[in-house]
């Protein structure tokens, strides 16, 4: 057991650094620095660079387009991309439906969908939550009724992230209304251009259009777009949730976030000294770094267990709880650090709008990000649900 990088690992680290420096889209970097809202094309710009290089899906098995990297190389990759402040790739295809398809899908489904997830040709969204079923996901009511070679889907989904850009969605639907809650659910892949689908925006506290309502009215879905067996969709859902939770720890991004807060606290003055000299503020940063280090090593231990043949299990709930709490504390600390200039409302740059925001550059996204990040302890199964999962699945209560 050791933390050292081998000469090969160090060479890989250099290769990754050089690749990012040479290939990260300059326009995207500019928009990030200005705090602009990112368009679909912005999100895809980095995705497509990586797809071309063959580095877009390090977690996938090689046969489906993965990189074949060792655990250490994957660690280096996430560290380096965070260090260079690269945007996070949209997870819905790469981290969610992709693994479900290559684990449970038919050969035809794999051949059709996986290459397009890798290339970025298809943008995916996740049709899980419903207005009446949030944390109690299995109570979902959107129903799919068989009609020959098709399902007819009716219902409403909500909190559907980035559905406004989506080409495809993966949906949990009820195919057997009489079965016990978790047993009558199926996992459907639905073309978002199918007639009967309507996407309506939901605007969140930071002013962003990130999530949506998705209404489905008599939407015809070919049966071959069902993944795995009819009424066994919960198996896919659980598998996906466990995968989603490991990524959710966000260790590398939070490390980068800590560096940003420190840099703000070295710039902002508190009396005749920088804020970082304030004993109370300094202690909060130290505590955050402490908890982040504990999370990092918990994740590394968990990944080591994974590479020894165990998949991400219910202990990934731990990573979700601590990871989301840390993300929130980071945004809280940032907002505290920027002081007065947390208040001015900044709309973001629209078309032809280049008025400079009020206050320092690092300040104008602080409040919106703080507001937006309240989501992390709610989504992906709220942190209360994660505690239920640990109590039931790990502790046998």
């Amino acid at each position: 057991m050791h933390l050292d990088f081998s000469p090969e690992d160090l060479a890989f680290q250099q290769e990754v650094r050089a690749f990012i420096a040479e290939n990260y889209p300059a326009e995207l970097r500019g928009k990030q620095d200005e705090g602009d809202e990112l368009s679909k094309e912005d999100f895809l710009a980095w995705h497509k660079v990586l797809a071309k290089k063959g580095w877009v899906a390090p977690a996938w098995p090689v046969e489906y387009g993965g990189t074949g990297w060792t655990a250490t190389q994957k660690y280096i990759w996430s560290e380096e991309t965070a260090r260079a402040d690269c945007i996070r790739l949209m997870p819905f295809g790469l981290s969610m439906v992709g693994p479900v398809i290559y684990t449970f899908g038919t050969p035809e489904q794999k051949a059709k969908f996986l290459p397009r997830i890798l290339s970025g040709e298809d943008w995916w969204c996740q049709g899980y939550s419903e207005p009446g079923s949030g944390s109690d996901l299995a109570s979902l009511r959107t129903k799919a009724v068989r009609d020959g070679d098709h399902y007819i889907v009716n219902g409403q989904k909500t909190w559907t992230t980035m559905a406004q850009h989506a080409d495809w969605g993966f949906f949990l639907v009820r195919t057997d209304p009489d079965a016990k809650q978790q047993e009558g659910i199926s996992f459907l892949l639905i073309d978002m251009k199918t007639p009967g689908i309507e996407v309506r925006p939901i605007i969140t506290l930071g002013g962003e259009h990130e999530v949506n309502e998705v209404w489905l009215e008599d939407v015809r879905v070919p049966v071959e777009q069902r993944v795995y067996e009819e009424n066994k969709g919960w198996t896919c859902a659980k598998f996906l949730l466990a995968h989603e939770r490991t990524g959710i720890a966000g260790v590398a991004a939070s490390k980068r976030g800590v560096e940003k807060v420190k840099s703000i606290a070295r710039t902002e003055m508190d009396g005749d000294k920088p804020l970082i000299a304030n004993a109370f503020f300094k202690r909060k940063i130290a505590e955050l770094e402490m908890d982040l280090t504990a999370l990092e090593f918990t994740e590394l231990r968990s990944l080591a267990g994974e590479s020894a043949g165990k998949g991400p299990g219910p202990e990934s709930s731990l990573l979700k709880i601590k990871g989301s709490e840390i993300q929130q504390r980071l945004t809280e600390l940032t907002l505290e650090a920027v002081g007065h200039y947390g208040a001015p409302y900044f709309r973001g740059f629209g078309e032809g709008d280049n008025e400079h925001p009020i206050g320092p550059d690092y300040a104008h996204r602080a409040a919106p990000t703080y507001f937006n990040t309240r989501k992390t302890t709610i989504y992906g199964g709220s942190n209360e649900i994660q505690r239920n999962i640990i109590a039931k699945m790990v502790l046998g209560l």
Binding site: M1, H2, L3, D4, F5, D9, A71, T72, Y75, K262, R266, K273, P274, I276, A277, K282, R283, I285, A286, E287, E289, M290, D291, T293, A294, L295, E296, F297, T298, L300, R301, L303, A304, A308, E315, L318, I321, K322, E384, Q386, R387, N388, I390, A391, V394, L395, G396, L397
Partner: protein, 376 residues
């Protein structure tokens, strides 16, 4: 990077765990504490001879098994699981650590005695006024001919009543809090002029106040390295205690989990109540983080001093906070029976509580981390 234990490390853990399961149940431990010497010396001897594992972290040329800090962490974790009152931390982790950096003549003489179970070392570093500052030392070692004369008062020195040797920090020069002039000595525990007041500690060990009254010690008792070496030894000890905390917190959690599955109130096991389920989940999360931080600190002991200290301090700060949470909630969840001496849980809690501040509280270590990494 590699996060797997070797086969030998796995065997070390299994061997020790099996031995302790047979010899260190709660009732037997209670009887050990009641003996005049406050322990069963046969256990230490058995670890040395029957199991042959006191050499785990020593080099093969000294008769050891060739391990290091990870082996110490494994040992401490397993000893923690039975709240063992063995002087492993003092003798092998700290004493052994000092001997590895000692002049060859001393190392060659002492290490085999440690491995054989004949030598027990106690680490006399703390002083009444010093809190956790290792340089806050009033004990003096004045050069006198070829040797030194030791004078001063060392506080709460664990394992002293059992010790054959004392590892002592003392000042050869400089003022009370100055780093320069603090040096390390290994001396015979029975030298004339060593006055002890022995007492049991709240967590089951034996300790002493030690008064050095013009104790003449030989020149070759000195281990060169000064405060830098002492800090390294204490950092190694600190992460070893984090390993012990890992074993203890697992048992605190496990014991509480068993209890709430059996204990009935309002017509059902109290483990059915969601408020307790969530508390158990939170205790699980904290216990896992203790394990992570013990490992992190151990794996970073080899880094350059500033990075090592920052890492060890983060580890200990987290472990102190987390074991406080796990311990207090274990007692609360047990209710009244938890605050009696009847159940093992309370005894785990007592050792856990002493670990919180051993080698520095959470506040101390967060402060040290800040000084090292969060300058203006």
């Amino acid at each position: 990077m590699d996060f797997s234990y070797t086969e030998t490390q796995g065997m070390l853990r299994d061997t020790l765990a099996r031995f302790l399961a047979d010899t260190y149940d709660f009732e037997t431990r209670k009887k050990m504490l009641l003996r005049p010497e406050g322990r069963d010396p046969g256990i230490w001897k058995a670890l040395a001879t029957e199991l042959g594992i006191l050499g785990a972290p020593f080099a093969e040329e000294h008769g050891g098994l060739g391990g290091g800090a990870l082996e110490n962490m494994i040992m401490m974790e397993e000893l923690g699981k039975v709240i063992a009152i063995e002087p492993y931390l003092q003798t092998v982790v700290i004493g052994g650590g000092a001997m590895k950096r000692a002049p060859a003549a001393m190392a060659d003489a002492v290490i085999p005695e440690i491995i054989a179970g004949n030598a027990v070392l106690a680490f006399a570093y703390a002083e009444p006024q010093g809190r956790y500052d290792l340089a806050n030392i009033r004990t003096t070692a004045k050069a006198d001919g070829a040797g030194y004369v030791l004078s001063g008062h060392k506080a709460v020195v664990y394992a002293t009543p059992w010790a054959t040797h004392l590892l002592v920090t003392a000042r050869t020069g400089g003022s009370t809090r100055e780093r320069a002039g603090v040096e390390l000595f290994l001396i015979d525990a029975t030298l004339p002029g060593i006055v002890r007041r022995d007492y049991p500690t709240v967590d089951g060990f034996q300790a002493s106040e030690i008064y050095f009254e013009n104790v003449a010690i030989p020149g070759d008792a000195h281990i060169p390295g000064g405060i830098d070496l002492i800090e390294l030894l204490v950092d190694e000890a600190t992460v070893a205690v984090c390993g012990e905390a890992c074993g203890i917190s697992r048992k605190l959690h496990e014991g509480t989990l068993d209890y709430i599955k059996q204990r009935k109130q309002f017509g059902q096991p109290i483990g059915k109540f969601q408020v307790l389920q969530h508390r158990m989940a939170d205790m699980f999360v904290e216990a896992e983080q203790i394990a992570s931080m013990a490992l992190m600190g151990t794996l970073k002991l080899d880094l350059p001093a500033a990075e090592r200290k920052a890492a060890v301090s983060l580890a200990k700060a987290k472990v102190s906070r987390s074991i406080n949470f796990v311990g207090q909630n274990a007692i609360q969840t047990h209710g009244g029976i938890g605050i009696t001496v009847e159940l093992a849980i309370g005894h785990y809690f007592k050792r856990a509580t002493m670990i919180e501040n051993q080698f520095g509280s959470a506040d101390f270590h967060l402060g040290r981390f800040e000084d090292l990494t969060l300058a203006d």
